[in-house]
């Protein structure tokens, strides 16, 4: 069993195999976006539910409810307060497809896909992984993505995303449930 490198050392590629052991993940999240077009940071919160291989339900509860669902290459979004419901095929929407890839890459924790699409830097303990897109098209959306990993069991506890424009999106997960088992939030 992978238990990380020696205490205090950065993890290596084997961490993906540990993350990949989770079949079903659900968690609450808080997302903070700092964007030039926004006068102040936009904080949203909700739940995320992921089931292998590629089923994702992302529910925003505040400030305005919305649901994003991804099942294979079919994505749908619903904004009940606005009466909007959209469904689209990611294969015919390159931008959306790239974005979905970047979302799924850390949820699926597929080392081959990670290596294919990103340059990976494994940083300090217990784990901080920095992903830099390789393809220019994905670089157009994401400058770099920083994953915060916690152990026992291994899981992503937060994501910092930096866009080429300088805008940032910070995600923090809590009340995580892995394969039905609640994981206490770290103090």
């Amino acid at each position: 069993m992978y238990a990380g490198n020696a205490f205090g050392a950065a993890p290596d590629a084997a961490v993906w195999a540990e993350l990949a052991k989770t079949h079903h993940l659900s968690a609450e999240f808080t997302q903070t976006q700092k964007r030039a077009i926004l006068k102040k940071p936009l904080v949203s919160s909700g739940t995320i539910e992921f089931e292998r291989p590629e089923n994702l339900v992302w529910t925003v509860k505040l400030p305005a409810p919305s649901t994003f669902e991804l099942h294979g290459s079919v994505a749908s979004m619903e904004f009940p307060q606005l009466g909007l419901k959209e469904r689209f095929d990611l294969d015919s929407m390159p931008d959306a497809n790239r974005l979905a890839s970047s979302l799924l890459v850390w949820l699926q924790a597929d080392p081959a896909a990670v290596e294919r699409d990103f340059t990976v830097h494994y940083l300090d303990a217990p784990a901080r992984i920095v992903l830099t897109p390789k393809s220019p098209s994905l670089q157009g959306l994401i400058k770099k993505m920083e994953l915060h990993v916690k152990e026992s069991p291994w899981r992503i506890s937060g994501v910092n995303l930096e866009e080429p424009s300088g805008d940032t999106v910070d995600l923090a997960f809590h009340r995580v449930i892995l394969d039905g088992k609640p994981i206490p939030d770290a103090p």
């Binding site: 997302q31 976006q33 964007r35 030039a36 077009i37 926004l38 006068k39 102040k40 936009l42 949203s44 994702l56 992302w58 925003v60 400030p63 305005a64 919305s66 994003f68 294979g72 290459s73 079919v74 979004m77 904004f79 307060q81 606005l82 909007l84 959209e86 469904r87 689209f88 095929d89 294969d91 015919s92 929407m93 390159p94 931008d95 959306a96 974005l99 979905a100 979302l103 959306l141 994401i142 995303l161 866009e163 424009s165 805008d167 999106v169």
Partner: protein, 1306 residues
């Protein structure tokens, strides 16, 4: 004689030489459109169908259920690419490329404002709209795809591009995209859409469209199936060809057998060869001169080549009747003498045939006109063949021992037998007026059963099916054409059940572009507003403003080229076409049933739309109409001319009548029998009947010619006629074994024609000739005349006895002004079409109102009455019973009229005095009107059942949400579609009376649901009691009297007590002002007021003093009233009702206890039969009315005060509710009704299809079980019976029947 022979021989050789050369030059085409007229509406409709590919889209399904999605996608790509490589044959749509979405966004970038719907743009540019759009963008940012939206936000802050792209690529029902492929929701089946370039009409099994497609499909790794018009056309071609071959082969064998049987020799048969050869050559020569000629014309022309055979048979039999000489020269002499003797008959016959064809040559149908010329060629050939080759053939083939066959056919037929047959033919002639001329291609469906099943399966899976039609408009420019299309699309898109595929979202008319440009012209104000709103929402307006400014400038008009590299290019290409005169643009209408399309067509006609509506069925019907009209006019002229020839020839009336009677028998006997059997005449069998007419003329002429030449000649003529008819019958009878409806239909029509020709030739004509000889004709003419006059007088006496004289009314000269087909005005009185219903306001003295209604109604009155007549004929199919009712019922109506308020009679009298009366033959318009108003009562009195059933309730005070007093009810009146599709909301402001609004139809002066200005609302619901029926005021007039006069429920009770009427009724009544409701149970004996408290539901049974009456108890135990009332009680018990909830309850489809019932179950409150539903708010003086179909259309609220102020538009208070369910139910009911007159096997198939539209309907399940048992498939009947019992059945009698049937299966 030798020189005579030589001359004939030379002439014959020359004829053969010339006609052979000409015939070899004949060019044949197979495209059926070449045979169709190009002019007029029909030509345009046909052209539309071709140009816009309504007929030639093919759907290929690739089955990936046993493979991975990747394999399915690969198979779709492979097949799509291979088919695309045949660009000369197909336009293929199999994939949306991964850049398609980006291409679409890019294509519309410069035209975002121009492309946006003006109403939507106005909303979006309002402060609220802008705020909503920006908040939506912010909400999107919060999701996981925030980065993507953030980038777009700066360029398009209001997300116009996103909205437009959503609209443009909205997936079709049942189809989604998977990696750019069109797949089903499960993703395991894919489709490819193929537009065939080769015209459908000419397709055969060997056409490249078919052969290449099937070869490519065979190479596909996954299972594939396909449907489309090319396939149907090819199957029709193959079937017709095969079955015609079989029929020709069997016909030839039969002809040989007939000759052997009658002559014990084939020599006479050999004599037909020159006739056939020369007839074929002359017909072919005519075809060559007309080349190119359609194959179908040649096929019919080939049949005409047999005309000469008849002439030969006559020559042969007349030649041998007095014995045949031994030597060739002597036989030549006999033949020439016989030929000269028959020349008169030949002459008249050829003249008659050529005249008939000459008339047809004036047809607008190229095929019919060509056929006429070919027919004339064949007739001339027939004549020349007997003149030139006849003597030689006779001399060569006749032998001294040849004898005329002795047939048991008498020369003299008693006059009374002839009279009986003539009368029978006369009865059939009357019936022939009802013959159905069916031009609908589906009636001539040649699809193989497996193809039909496949079509149903694939269309159901891929969301297609139903019916389609085209809306086409033309213009010198594309802009002009689009501008004409736009209003029609708007109307069609609003019609329930109809969806519209059109190019206007992509190519908006310039009026829209200009209006939108104007809407964004005040940049400064809009920018100010944008800055303020975006700041308030939380955006940095400075960063978004450039994008907003850029958006405001996107007003460029898109062109077809704009979309060339986008996924919608196929749609644009398909729906726009450059024509010789400029541009044509189309919209495709899809609807679940034909009924929905017909309704859309009706709404379009009322809207004054300039777009042309054409549906495949209409194309065929138009074609059929033209053929029918041409046949009638041309045939009429031909008959007149032929009668003239005969008059010249025979000089006296009786021989002319005798000669023409075989034709009369053939035409009217055939048409009458077809009408009686319910077999339609088709565009193919119509011309075939013309062939029979030619044959019948010949036989009549030959018989009359022979009449004066002695017994032996008459016998010879009779034998020749037998042979000629047998010959023709053998040729066509084989077609009756065909499975193809068209081929079978021709076989039936011609066989019937031949049978009735024989009846005329062997019974009526001899009887007439005998009668003439015995001088009995004048006597019979006198008798027949007396009988005819007596019948006419009896009819007129009955009509006069039933006639009700209208009261004297003033004469008015005012005329209504027609503002558009859907809007008429007369002074302050208005009739307008809104939301699929009529809205009318009338005021004045009774006769003034009557005149006004008559003027406003205009053509609507005739339409309503014609449609009600259709329902009458449908309900009472027996014409004699109908006649009895038409003449008998008005007598009862007369008794009724004496108890109607004279004011109401004056209104009806003035109304019926307006305009022409198309139905005057039945009775006077006024008499009919009185009867119409008593229909509900008389119907109920006669059959002891309400026509349909109604459910409703009254509620008020604390039981309603706002404390208002409500009356809600469904009027389940099965009086035909008029009461639904042409329902009218009518405001009546009678002189000195309380104004009221009610729902009915224009021209119906009584009321069933309404409210007056004093807040009194009422609704009539039929009931039953044992109280004896007595003639009285029709209930709908009593209801009107209440609305006009009542100010309280006490007033209501007093009026009811005074009038009562002659049947039992439950009347829901509410007083909105005093806050009181009651249900009045009215019987001819008494009136019982049942206070409703704050709520009470009502269906169709009584609960007062008559609750234990036998009829009431029977209704409770055997009808659906208890089920509906129980359910309404449950719903009403919830309380807190308001208008919206009341509508929801009236639309409820469940049974008691919330039991799920199949759609259309009559135990439910909503059984898809209501002519209208209303929710009346007696407190607010409003009435919400359901629009077509039944309760599924929009519900529109009308306020009494608005109507009084001339505001007629109403306000939508409930959106449409799955009208396709209702429409499918209607279709299913029609199919099950039609199945009653079908053979068990066909009936079972039909009912099974109905059950696909209305799954689990218990009455249909029982009907299917009965059909299965009748078809000998009893074991299969168990399941539907058990399912019906479990559902449960609609009525107790149905349950008992199902149990009884189950018992028989044990």
């Amino acid at each position: 004689m030798k020189s005579d022979l030589r001359a004939r021989g030379i002439a014959l050789l020359l004829l053969i030489l010339v006609t052979s050369v000409l015939t070899s030059q004949t060019r044949v085409v197979t495209d059926l459109t070449e045979a169709m007229p190009r002019d007029g509406l029909f030509g345009k409709m046909l052209e539309d169908a071709k140009v816009f590919g309504l007929l030639d889209t093919t759907l290929i399904e690739i089955d990936g259920t046993q493979s991975s999605p990747e394999a399915l996608h690969q198979a779709i790509d492979d097949l799509g690419q291979r088919l695309s490589s045949h660009s000369e044959l197909y336009e293929v749509k199999y994939q949306v490329s991964s850049t398609a979405g980006a291409n679409l966004q890019s294509a519309m970038a410069g035209s975002r404002i121009a492309l946006t719907d003006p109403d939507e743009l106005a909303d979006l540019l309002s402060e609220t709209g802008m705020r909503q759009a920006l908040e939506a963008s912010q909400a999107r940012l919060s999701g996981p795809a925030g980065a993507m939206f953030a980038r777009n936000l700066a360029n398009d802050p209001l997300d116009l591009g996103g909205r437009l792209a959503q609209k443009a690529t909205a997936p079709t029902k049942g189809v989604r995209l998977s990696q750019g492929h069109f797949v089903n929701p499960e993703g395991n089946r894919g489709i490819i859409l193929v537009h065939g370039i080769e015209p459908v009409f000419g397709t055969t099994a060997n056409s490249p469209t078919i052969t290449v497609l099937e070869a490519e499909l065979a190479k596909t790794t996954l299972p594939t199936r396909w449907i489309g018009s090319h396939r149907y056309a090819a199957e029709a071609y193959t079937t017709i060809r095969h079955e015609t071959k079989v029929a020709v082969a069997s016909g030839t064998a039969l002809v040989i057998a007939a000759f052997l049987f009658l002559f014990r020799s084939l020599r006479p048969l050999a004599g037909t060869l020159p006739a056939l050869a020369i007839g074929t050559l002359t017909a072919g020569a005519a075809a060559a001169i007309l080349s190119p000629i359609h194959g179908i014309v040649l096929a019919f022309g080939g049949a005409l080549a047999g005309l000469g055979v008849d002439y030969w048979i006559h020559l042969y039999l007349h030649g041998i009747r007095d014995g045949v000489p031994n030597t060739f020269p002597e036989r030549i002499q006999v033949a020439i003498a016989t030929l000269r003797h028959l020349m008169g008959a030949y002459g008249v016959s050829v003249a008659a045939t050529c005249t008939s064809f000459a008339m047809l040559a004036t047809s607008g149908y190229p095929a019919v006109a060509d056929l006429a010329w070919v027919g004339m060629g064949a007739s001339v050939g027939a004549f020349l063949s007997v003149v030139l080759a006849g003597p030689l053939a006779f001399a060569a083939l006749a032998r001294p021992d040849d004898r005329v066959p002795q047939l048991p056919i008498p020369k003299h037929v008693p006059g009374w037998i002839g009279a009986i047959v003539a009368v029978l033919v006369g009865i059939l002639a009357v019936g022939s007026l009802r013959v159905h001329f069916d031009g609908d291609p589906r009636a001539m469906d040649a699809r193989l059963p497996e193809t039909a099943a496949l079509e149903q399966e694939l269309q159901s899976r891929w969301g297609g099916g139903g019916s389609s039609a085209l809306l086409v408009s033309e213009g010198k420019t594309l802009e002009e054409a689009l501008a004409r299309l736009a209003p029609a699309v708007q109307v069609a898109a609003h019609s329930p059940g109809t969806t519209v595929e059109h190019p206007l979202n992509l190519l908006p008319p310039h009026s829209q572009i200009a209006a939108n440009a104007q809407a964004v012209s005040d940049h400064a104000a809009l920018e100010q507003q944008f800055i303020r709103v975006s700041e308030e929402v939380g955006f940095d307006s400075a960063l978004l403003l450039p994008g907003f400014r850029a958006t405001l400038a996107t007003t460029a008009a898109p062109t077809p080229e704009t979309w060339s590299q986008t996924p919608v290019s196929e749609l644009v290409d398909r729906l726009t076409a450059q024509t010789e005169g400029g541009w044509a643009v189309a919209a495709i209408l899809h609807a679940p049933t034909e009924e929905a399309l017909k309704h859309t067509q009706y709404e379009l006609s009322l809207s004054g739309s300039e777009a042309r509506y054409s549906a495949p069925a209409d194309v065929a019907e138009q074609g059929a109409d033209r053929i029918r009209n041409e046949l009638l006019t041309r045939s009429g002229a031909a008959v007149a001319l032929v009668l003239l020839y005969m008059a010249f020839r025979f000089r006296r009336a009786v021989p002319v009548l005798a000669a023409v009677f075989p034709t009369i028998c053939a035409v009217f006997g055939t048409l009458g029998t077809l009408a009686w059997l319910g077999i339609p005449l088709t565009p193919a069998s119509g011309p075939a009947l013309v062939l029979v007419v030619g044959l019948a003329f010949d036989q009549g002429i030959f018989l009359v010619e022979a009449d004066h030449s002695g017994e032996s000649e008459f016998k010879a003529s009779q034998a020749a006629i037998v042979m000629a008819l047998m010959n023709a019958f053998c040729g066509f009878a084989g077609l009756m074994t065909a499975s193809h409806p068209v081929v079978w239909n021709i076989g039936v029509v011609v066989s019937l024609g031949i049978f009735f020709t024989a009846v005329g030739a062997f019974v009526v004509t001899p009887a007439l000739l005998t009668a003439e000889a015995e001088k009995v004709v004048p006597r019979w003419i006198r008798r027949l005349s007396f009988a005819g006059v007596s019948l006419f007088l009896a009819d007129q006496i009955a009509e006069v006895l039933g006639r009700i004289d209208p009261p004297p009314v003033r004469s008015f000269s005012t005329k209504a002004e027609s503002l558009s087909p859907g809007s008429r005005r007369l002074g302050d009185n208005l009739l307008q079409r809104h939301h699929g219903m009529w809205v009318m306001k009338v005021k004045g003295a009774p006769d003034e109102m009557g005149h006004t209604i008559g003027e406003l109604a205009g053509p609507l009155r005739e339409r309503n009455e014609a449609r009600m007549l259709e329902v009458f004929e449908e309900k009472v199919p027996n014409p004699l019973v109908r006649y009895g009712l038409i003449r008998g019922l008005p007598v009862l109506g007369r008794a009724v009229s004496s108890s109607i308020d004279p004011r109401h009679l004056a209104e009806l009298a003035a109304l019926t005095a307006v305009g022409q009366d198309a139905q005057r033959w039945a009775s006077t318009a006024y008499t009919r009107k009185i009867f119409l108003h008593a229909l509900h009562d008389i119907g109920q009195a006669m059959v002891d059942t309400p026509i349909g059933g109604c459910t409703g309730f009254v509620a008020g005070a604390e039981w309603t949400k706002e404390g208002h007093w409500l009356l809600a009810r469904n009027w389940d009146f099965d009086g035909g579609p008029t009461f639904d599709e042409d329902k009218a909301v009518i405001l009546v402001e009678g002189e000195g009376k309380i104004p009221y609004v009610h729902v009915g139809i224009v021209g119906l002066s009584g009321s069933v649901s309404g409210i007056n200005a004093e807040g009194i609302a009422i609704g009539l619901q039929a009931a039953a009691s044992d109280a004896p029926i007595r003639p009285g005021t029709p209930m709908i007039f009593i209801a009107r009297e209440i609305l006009e006069n009542a100010r309280s429920l006490d007033d209501v009770e007093a009026i009811l007590d005074q009038r009562r009427g002659f049947v039992s009724e439950a009347i829901l009544a509410v007083d909105g002002d005093s806050g009181e409701a009651a249900i009045f149970e009215v019987t001819p004996d008494d009136v019982t007021r049942i206070p409703a408290g704050n709520h009470l539901a009502q269906a169709n049974h009584l609960r007062g003093p008559h609750k234990d009456d036998g009829l009431n108890l029977s209704r409770i135990s055997h009808g659906t009233t208890l089920s509906r009332l129980t359910r309404m009680d449950e719903l009403l018990g919830q309380g807190g009702v308001d208008q919206g909830l009341a509508i929801e309850w009236l639309r409820d489809r469940k049974g008691p206890g919330g039991l799920e019932l199949p759609v259309g179950h009559e135990g439910a409150i909503n059984a898809d039969i209501a002519s209208h539903g209303v929710v009346i708010d007696a407190t607010a003086r409003t009435i919400a009315v359901s629009s077509w179909p039944n309760l599924s259309g929009e519900w529109v609220e009308f306020s009494l005060s608005d109507l009084q102020a001339g505001k007629m538009e109403g306000r939508v208070v409930a959106e449409i509710d799955h009208p396709e369910r209702t429409l499918k139910m209607h279709q299913a009911r029609r199919w099950v009704q039609a199945a009653k007159s079908m053979a068990p096997v066909e009936a079972e198939t039909q009912i099974r299809h109905a059950l696909e539209l209305a799954p689990g309907h218990p009455t249909f399940l029982i009907a299917r079980a009965r059909a299965l048992i009748a078809a000998g498939r009893s074991e299969e009947a168990r399941q539907p019976l058990e399912q019906a019992i479990a559902t449960p059945p609609e009525r107790e009698s149905d349950r008992l029947l199902a149990l009884e049937l189950l018992e028989t299966l044990k």
